[in-house]
């Protein structure tokens, strides 16, 4: 793996996404519809912070599921997988896709956050900003680290769109519970220290997933 080729591949993906807007459009639509639906569903209620935190990550999860798998699926569908195999080593591909997916998830969380803050302006108030920021950053990394390799697996299978969340969810449960718990703490105004335990879990999770995926990626990527 060389940094320059990884970076070139990231640039290619970003460029290609800006051209086709395939993932981006799907993401925007899902986010907006999901938030609108939830807003409508909660209309009459005063949701608790844990419900809000839960629904926040549910939206992120499902939206991510509709977009992240494109990274590999689109290569596979258009037959460019072989081209990429020829010009890049597996680890280059893995890290490039990991970076792209992290960036995508991170922008997603920002979009959802902005939407939530405008829509639930009285109940979704982030009291401990530091906790929230760290949660969102680690959460995006965690999401991307687990779902990148799953996307690579799913790209080789037949029923990609439905299979992707099915394979990802069991693996993401730990992550989801942890980020939900940390987000609740941020909303409730617990001090930053209160969420340190959650962050440790998140860090461990990210390391384990990235390391495992890195080692296994070759088996998935090569025929």
């Amino acid at each position: 793996m060389s940094a320059s080729s990884t970076f070139a591949l990231v640039r290619k993906d970003v460029h290609s996404e800006l051209r086709t807007r395939y993932a981006l459009n799907a993401l925007i639509m899902f986010v907006v519809v999901a938030v609108a639906t939830i807003l409508f569903a909660l209309r009459s209620d005063q949701p608790t912070s844990s419900v809000l935190a839960g629904l926040y990550w549910v939206v992120v999860f499902f939206t991510a599921m509709s977009g992240l798998s494109r990274t590999f699926v689109s290569e596979e569908e258009r037959g460019t997988t072989m081209t990429l195999q020829l010009v890049a080593t597996p680890s280059t591909v893995y890290f490039a896709k990991l970076i792209v997916n992290t960036a995508l998830t991170f922008s997603l969380t920002i979009a959802v956050t902005v939407l939530y803050m405008t829509v639930f302006s009285d109940s979704f108030v982030i009291q401990t900003m530091s906790t929230f920021l760290v949660t969102v950053i680690l959460g995006s990394l965690g999401f991307a680290s687990a779902s990148t390799i799953i996307a690579a697996i799913v790209a080789k299978a037949n029923t990609r769109a439905t299979l992707y969340p099915v394979l990802s969810f069991p693996i993401l449960v730990v992550l989801l519970m942890t980020v939900m718990s940390a987000t609740t703490k941020a909303l409730d105004g617990e001090p930053f220290e209160g969420a340190l335990g959650d962050f440790q879990i998140l860090a461990g999770y990210i390391l384990a997933m990235t390391g495992g995926s890195y080692l296994l990626f070759e088996y998935v990527w090569k025929e």
Binding site: I153, T159, I201, M209, Y219, E223
Partner: protein, 234 residues
């Protein structure tokens, strides 16, 4: 294998019978009475079935992942056969553990399901197995099916320690040993059981493990035969 087969049958039968037959008294006398564990009472008998089954589920999962790992190293299709056989059994035991656990929970904690950390983890394990088989059925080429499902089971395996060691600590739960449990841990964990119960419990563990080994052996042989038949008549 004969020894395993008979051993498991004898042990499980013994555990079943003795677990149900031995009376529980608040003041146990000798080997033929169980102590009364406060909060469990008669329901404590299920420890002897539920826990060994849950244990076997985990063993099956580990065995399946192990052979998946071996497949990636050796590319020997026989390892995939072993891996998928173990996963199939694991799924079955997982269902059994869920059912015995859920029934127990209904009588002990009032409802079938409470999202206690251990319940959550067994549910996730069920989902992992479901996803594993869904993935396998979506892959047509044998080699791809073997290696991708092996990778998936390893990736899923990475999360298992989180469920076992981490989750019970961040979530409050009903199982003994969870966060906020006043005792810290319960009868099994601290081996608070009376010696006779402990012996039967351990025999149950051994019995169910042997049972798994026997079934595993059977299934692998069956799967090999099917494989060979499809080689001859594709």
């Amino acid at each position: 294998m004969k020894a395993v087969k008979f051993g498991s049958v004898i042990l499980i039968t013994f555990v079943l019978i003795s677990g149900l037959a031995i009376p529980i008294s608040s003041n146990p006398q000798g080997w033929l009475e169980f102590p009364n564990i406060p909060g469990l009472e008669e329901k404590a008998r299920n420890i002897l079935y539920h826990v060994p089954i849950a244990w076997t589920t985990v063993v099956a999962f580990l065995v399946g992942t192990f052979y998946g790992f071996r497949y990636l190293k050796t590319k020997n299709i026989d390892d995939d056969i072993k891996s998928v056989s173990a996963a199939g059994l694991g799924f079955m035991f997982c269902l059994l553990a869920t059912i015995t656990g859920a029934i127990w929970a209904k009588f002990n904690w009032g409802s079938f399901w409470n999202w206690d950390p251990r319940e959550t983890s067994i549910f996730v394990l069920l989902l992992i197995y479901g996803a594993y088989f869904a993935l396998r059925s979506a892959l047509e080429t044998e080699e791809k099916r073997a290696s991708l499902s092996a990778v998936y089971s390893i990736i899923a395996g990475i999360t298992v320690p989180f469920f076992i060691f981490v989750m019970p600590r961040i979530m409050s739960g009903l199982h003994p040993g969870a966060k906020g449990d006043p005792d810290g841990s319960g009868p099994v964990v601290q081996l608070k059981m009376s010696p006779n119960m402990l012996v039967i419990f351990l025999l149950g563990l051994v019995g169910f493990t042997l049972f798994f080994i026997w079934l595993f052996n059977l299934r692998v042989r069956l799967a090999r035969l099917e494989y060979q038949r499809s080689v001859q008549h594709p």
